[in-house]
Symmetry: C2
Subunit: 699 residues, 2 copies
């Protein structure tokens, strides 16, 4: 069991199995009934729009990835390192991430119409179609990621190359996530503001020229974007722990140094075990005749976690050379994730005070709705931050602190993300059902079908409470792991760079003192990046939505027959407006993620760059929590009013709550979710360029 | 010139002179004409309301200060330190701060009506009354503060006791600022939402039951709160530099160690020079027959800065033992302050894109107004953060780095705040003129008077651009100075505490590594405090405003004659609603400021507490910038629309812009401005309890 090769091959095999299961479900979904000519036509518009956007996005990304690959190859070669392999692994990572995202999106646009058609028969079949489609994405993501990491490490034995692979995944994920987020909210806000507010037609009404763009957005934003996002965290958490494991090789403790290879491979073992657990969990997601879909999804998550915990504990105990206390580090992360999920629920569910009070205050106007929602959003970060701190401290101290403690923090993130197969499956289910509802509405299906789609939709929201807590805690622990890994990288690089001068000056952890003005300067500069990034993506949404609103108003003016239902609008114009706007808006955010850390590194040096990453992590976590929770709170406040409270639909409170919901849209679906990816990319860029920055810097 | 006593006595004399000038202006203002019976009646309501609130506030603060003084006396005595003197200095600080705030508020409620009456004659006299009233506050603040610090240090020769004095000032300032901010925005929002939006009566209309509370709010929030705020920064910046100067006594460099007393006194010398410069500057603030008040205020600021720079340079060059490069550190801070002021102007003035675009987007609904304003607010932090980083780096490196460099950062803050006499004078002018306008409207003065008041008001806004940049940069450098001073304190305390065990283990700067999970935990916990504090104060505003709105609606319903103008509403009810609400809302924020740092200190120890302060400083600066700039931007976007753009008053764009403005109100006048004081208090609490925390802590 101490043979690392055995585990790597097992990882490869399980990765292939995961991908196989994903493909099997894919063809199963494809075989389902896609209804009559009308539903096929509507689904076709959405599919074509989504494909067109993804094509444009990937074309743009090929250029970005190409440039970065060349830079990596050149820089690494100059530094006497493995330039070409690094560039190849980087491109491989980007490709894998793209494949997983593409597969997920393809199945989503097949599944939405099929789920709608199934809903016209019964709830269970509809649930089954949507969930299996989500599982395609889930298994594709973890399968492709595990195959990629195991293959690279099996061939090269070099964790650095896995790092390059991870940077490839994350760079692509950032642009897919941010671009998709901008796209989906541009279309959503424009469709709502003109459709619902100005001319008073319902959601998903075929008279609205932005309706197809809105539904395309759900696929490119929520499905493809989310897939790329989890892909990126999954790989990044593993690579952080691998780098720290590899660094054990230079430890002064001979026992730890000797076992460095096993610690390096442990993250990949956990990924493999997570695949097994997810396969078991997904198998148990079944809804009986009158069963509750939400419960079924949660059951799947609990079973997966339970199976994973048992497998993980057995394997760690069985491998004789591994520190057994790591079991507790991993379990602590998971436990905290569940707690965070529950407390987050308190701030965003309409069963508790924050949502209810915000809804009540809406009666005094939209300004009060906004202030109240923002305030609760800010307060909501407190339990999560305390949870993250507790998880970090436990993971560190339970294994004895020191280098092993830092590894403990990184590995607890891996443990939490190992179950991603199941978690993605139940997350991707949500937007698919949402889309099914849109198709049902647009193709004129019965009211009953729409009601069933609503039931399925709310099941997705119930399931989200747990997966959300998980993903917050996991993301925070991942970036902490990456942060530690970066310092370890730059330390090694400094030792190597200056050892030839006979003067080995390592870059010790204690050099990064909070008292050092260069570190402080880095922290300040880093801390402004996540807010700046959020602002730029949100501004893109308002700018693009403003343009689209002007366009839609023009359409209604030019052809009044559209509003009478006697003419069909041209849906493609809004689709390309949203796509082109989103792609153009990605330039500045990409610069923040990739160029800023390099500038800071080359000017302020390793100490400044460490501070920079620290600052970015802190505000990144803070703003991600704030924005997604405030957005969720406003969304549910609106729904709470719509359910008949404080005047119900059409009241002053409702109007104010709708404004709150619209403000929350880019918070929770554009800016918030991209922030984790942003800090991941920044950390990976820093780690990747560590060998160069260690040598060349101004201060 | 190397005799520190000489300088301390000079400081005392100049402090007394400053206070004397303030009192002279006070009686000059009091002598001015306060108009007819009606204007006296209206002014009387406002004066009584303001006094009643201040009385309640100070009664509450006496209790808080008493408890804290007892705790300080006991804890310090147990630790074998000077318990009683510490408690006495703490109470003395709170008292001085209260006196300065009280004087400023008293003159403001005298000056508002007198300025309004003067405006019925001509612009210049009205300007003169308002500005001289502002100068009362300005000179009272710097006079009392300088007297207090010089007296304590002259008698005791102990910078620690000045620290206790500073904690007294800041604790009071925090509660005065936050309480005043909640009060003023509660009344403002409630008055606007019911008055302007629901029943459609203009601003400051006497039919509105909340109109007096609204005007009282300007005095207790903007005048008294602001005075306490500057008092606190002024003293805190000086004490940070004094503590670092005193710590030079243990330096290994014999030249620096020998000159420690002079470095300790230098901050007080700069305060004294700043008083001279402010006296000169205020003398030159004159408006000719057709002169521009805004220009006159700026001219006063420039002259003050110029005179101060010359005096400061001469004195530093003349005192032989002082590092001459400190001149550059101080000038760098000032230069950066001006640059920050200009760039901040870009984001909040209606002459530039951000305000104009936000106004334009308002045509598409309030949600877009909010998202756009928030985004620009977040972007606006970028130039300020870069400016702060540059100022810090220059101040550190220009004097040679190391301990002297850290002192350079602290002293550059002192240099910027030394001119507070002039800056407060021109800042306090604004709300006084604003109030004069309210009184003119309520007591039925001519339209011409109101127009003149508007001209005076806009002059205040012009002047604010420069003083704002100053105060941002100064506050950031002050908290950085306090941060460094805290580490120095806890280091000394640790050495002293453990030296008796024959085992001198200092707490080195390098111990606070960003890699240490305890430090990281502290940073995370600290970083959540400013957002939490903002949220709690903003929630208090919405909660209290909601209650007041319900009350006002009830009044209009019960007595319809009020709206017809045939009956006078009872103004006192809203006044006490706002006062009681604000005072009750202070409990939680006070706990965050005072109890949180102690909990973290006793649990996580010195390292965790250092991280905690670092985290709080970062997000504190960030949120303060974001909130005040976003608030200013929304305010001016509304004004831009009201000036006739994008449909002008009454248009859809206007309605949306009004919602933006209302959201911005608690941003810029409640939460934002209290944050600097919050992080100051946290830092001072940490420093004051450093001797105890060094010995007693869990981790």
């Amino acid at each position: 069991m101490s043979n690392t090769k055995f585990w790597l091959i097992l990882g490869l095999v399980l990765g292939l199995a995961s991908l196989g299961v994903g493909l099997y479900y894919f063809f199963w979904v494809k075989k389902q009934d896609d209804g009559n000519a009308r539903s096929r036509e509507v689904a076709g518009w959405i599919r074509d729009g989504a494909r067109a956007y993804l094509k444009k996005l990937y074309m743009a990304l090929i250029i970005v990835a190409g440039i970065m690959a060349v830079i990596l190859a050149v820089v690494y070669s100059i530094e006497g390192q493995r330039g070409i392999p690094t560039a190849v692994c980087f491109l491989f990572g980007a490709l894998c991430s793209a494949i997983a995202g593409y597969l997920g999106m393809e199945v989503a646009v097949l599944a939405n119409v099929r789920s709608a058609v199934a809903a016209s028969k019964d709830l269970n079949t509809a649930f089954n179609v949507a969930f299996k489609a989500g599982a395609v994405m889930g298994f594709a993501v973890v399968g492709v990621a595990t195959i990629g990491m195991c293959a690279i490490y099996l061939i090269s034995g070099d964790a650095q190359l896995v790092l390059a692979y991870s940077l490839g995944c994350s760079s692509l994920a950032l642009l897919a996530k941010a671009g998709g987020g901008i796209y989906t909210k541009t279309a959503d806000i424009a469709a709502d503001l003109v459709g619902k507010v100005e001319v008073g037609i319902p959601e998903d009404d075929p008279r609205n020229p932005a309706v197809v763009a809105d539904n395309v957005g759900d696929n490119v934003g929520d499905v493809a974007g989310m897939g790329a996002d989890i892909f990126d965290s999954y790989v990044a958490s593993a690579v952080a722990a691998m780098l720290l494991g590899a660094a054990f090789g230079t430890s002064t403790d001979p026992v730890i140094a000797a076992n460095a290879p096993m610690y390096t491979v442990l993250p990949l073992i956990l990924c493999a075990l997570g695949i097994v657990a997810s396969l078991v969990g997904v198998y148990f997601v079944r809804v009986g005749e009158n069963g509750k879909p939400g419960k079924a999804l949660n059951m799947g998550t609990y079973i997966t976690c339970g199976v994973f915990a048992i497998l993980m504990a057995i394997v760690i105990l069985v491998i004789p050379t591994i520190n057994n206390s790591l079991i507790w580090a991993i379990l602590a992360g998971t436990a905290v994730g569940v707690v965070i999920g529950q407390t987050t629920e308190f701030f965003t569910s309409d069963e508790y005070k924050p949502v209810q009070i915000t809804a009540e205050y809406s009666g005094s106007g939209a300004a009060i709705t906004i202030i109240s929602g923002m305030s609760y959003g800010l307060i909501s970060i407190v339990p999560s931050i305390i949870g993250i701190v507790v998880a970090m401290m436990v993971a560190y101290f339970v294994v004895g602190g020191g280098d092993m403690g830092l590894y403990g923090i990184a590995i607890s993130a891996v443990g939490m993300l190992a179950t991603s197969g199941m978690i993605v499956s139940s997350d991707a289910y949500g937007p698919i059902v949402d889309n099914a509802r849109g198709i049902a509405e647009m193709s004129g299906m019965d009211e009953e079908v729409i009601d069933r789609a609503d039931v399925l939709d709310s099941a997705g929201n119930t399931a989200k409470a747990i997966t959300k807590g998980f993903s917050i805690a996991a993301a925070a622990l991942t970036v902490l792991g990456l942060f530690v890994a970066f310092v370890s990288e730059i330390n090694t690089a400094t030792v190597i760079a200056f050892s030839s001068e006979g003067n080995v000056v390592g870059f010790a952890f204690s050099d990064i003192s909070l008292m050092d003005p260069i570190v402080l300067a880095g922290i300040f500069l880093g801390s402004m990046c996540p807010p700046l990034f959020s602002a730029l993506t949100m501004l893109s949404v308002t700018e693009n939505a403003f343009k689209m609103i002007e366009y839609i108003r023009g359409v209604f003016k030019k052809n009044p027959k559209i509003l009478e239902g006697k003419a069909t609008p041209d849906y493609s114009e809004c689709v390309s407006l949203a796509a082109d706007g989103a792609l153009k808006s990605l330039v500045l955010p990409a610069i923040i993620a990739i160029v800023f850390p390099l500038i800071v590194g080359f000017v302020l040096g390793p100490k400044g760059l460490t501070g920079f990453l620290g600052g970015a992590i802190i505000t990144g976590v803070l703003f991600a929590l704030f924005m997604s929770n405030a957005g969720g709170l406003w969304d549910n406040s609106k729904k709470y009013v719509e359910a008949g409270n404080f005047g119900g639909k059409g009241s002053e409170a409702h109007k104010a709550a709708v404004i709150g919901d619209t403000v929350g849209d880019p918070f929770k679906d554009t800016a918030g979710p991209s922030l984790n990816t942003l800090i991941t990319v920044m950390s990976l860029v820093a780690s990747t360029f560590a060998p160069v920055i260690a040598v060349w810097h101004l201060f």
